[in-house]
Point group: C2
Chain length 248, copies 2
Amino acid sequence: MTYCVGLMLDEGLVFLSDTRTNAGLDNISRYRKMFSWEVPGERAIVMLTAGNLAITQAVVSLLREAIENPDTAENDSILTAPTMFRVAELVGEAMQSVQHKYHDTLEQRKESSGASIILGGQRAGGAQRLFLIYAAGNFIEATEDTPYLQIGEHKYGKPILDRVITQETPIEEGVKAALLSMDSTLRSNLSVGMPLDLAVLPEGKCRFSEQRRIEAEDAGFKALSEAWSKALRDAFTDMPDEHYPPHD
Amino acid sequence: MTYCVGLMLDEGLVFLSDTRTNAGLDNISRYRKMFSWEVPGERAIVMLTAGNLAITQAVVSLLREAIENPDTAENDSILTAPTMFRVAELVGEAMQSVQHKYHDTLEQRKESSGASIILGGQRAGGAQRLFLIYAAGNFIEATEDTPYLQIGEHKYGKPILDRVITQETPIEEGVKAALLSMDSTLRSNLSVGMPLDLAVLPEGKCRFSEQRRIEAEDAGFKALSEAWSKALRDAFTDMPDEHYPPHD
């Protein structure tokens, strides 16, 4: 399983992913699910992937081949496409092409070809955009009403985001909320696991301010997780008794 | 969809369920999912149901028919069975009988016969017990390691339970935690809806101390929900900055 989340805040984009994959409970490995490209000052792009690993790796490979192939038209490479919308189309087209190739044989074997990708980024002169690309290659976009997108095991980590994230949330608070959302998911689902990959892309810069791997023994993440547990337990204990539903 | 939760605490059992059912998004109704029986001082039993409504209603009807039928052997009615374990077996047998009748025709129509039941209660002289009965009629029991059971849309409301519920949690705190767990679920999944049904069964009493419906406009529940939202946001805001993962 997987949990990935992308936030689109006024101050910038925040991306967080776990690294655990499993083919059955007895076959667990670690794979990077965050892929990024940066032409500092010109464009910065992040992809987070969930679902069938062979499918999402093939999508990333197709996009990389197009970047590396000198014959690729400007409009057909995510590093030269004129808009983030076109980048999203290219990711969707790569997804369709991979699905076209493997969907039927996977279906025959009753295996899932399900896959989804969060794509976010900005190019100089354009707005920052955040998309969710489905297995059919179609996609939706984050808006001010829904300034975050999740893929994979999204439910455990949604309540905290729903309560604290708005478009106006400062970017450091966004990072904190994404980490706490991941923390809730890690606690409840064993198939989501450390280490984590974090990327932060401030609005208008087209340059990552942070791209790092957070290891299982990371003291900062542990402290954040413990402080949050304590804060929640304290808030729960301090909840005034008169807030119980009164008796009839 | 549905969300139901049962807690087994040293001080007693707590049960909470929503009342929303849907057959597609455009066919939403309200059905009671909590069923209770009380012979004050001798035994008290609660069932919470999730899944195919026709299946769970049929299970409840079979159990009621057995209670009402004067020819039912003592061992075959949930109101006269000698142990809560036997009560769980009776619920499991009713489930098997209903599944046997409808499973194949539901499968033909590609409809789900999935259903699950939380069963809890106590009889005089016995311990309080809490079970989760599956569609196959088999069941598991809550233990000190896992003092709560959930059915239906369980993920959104699990983090709060994981953080605050232990067997030693006082019963009023248990009620508060169950309500907050439901509150998180209501916020995140439209197919779980008010009103709620709450039942509290103190240990050793075999008599409910509380059985009530909490309506959408219930001032106490609203206040609890708002106080919790505020406490969470405050805890989040107050989280010290040094708890961020430090930069490399």
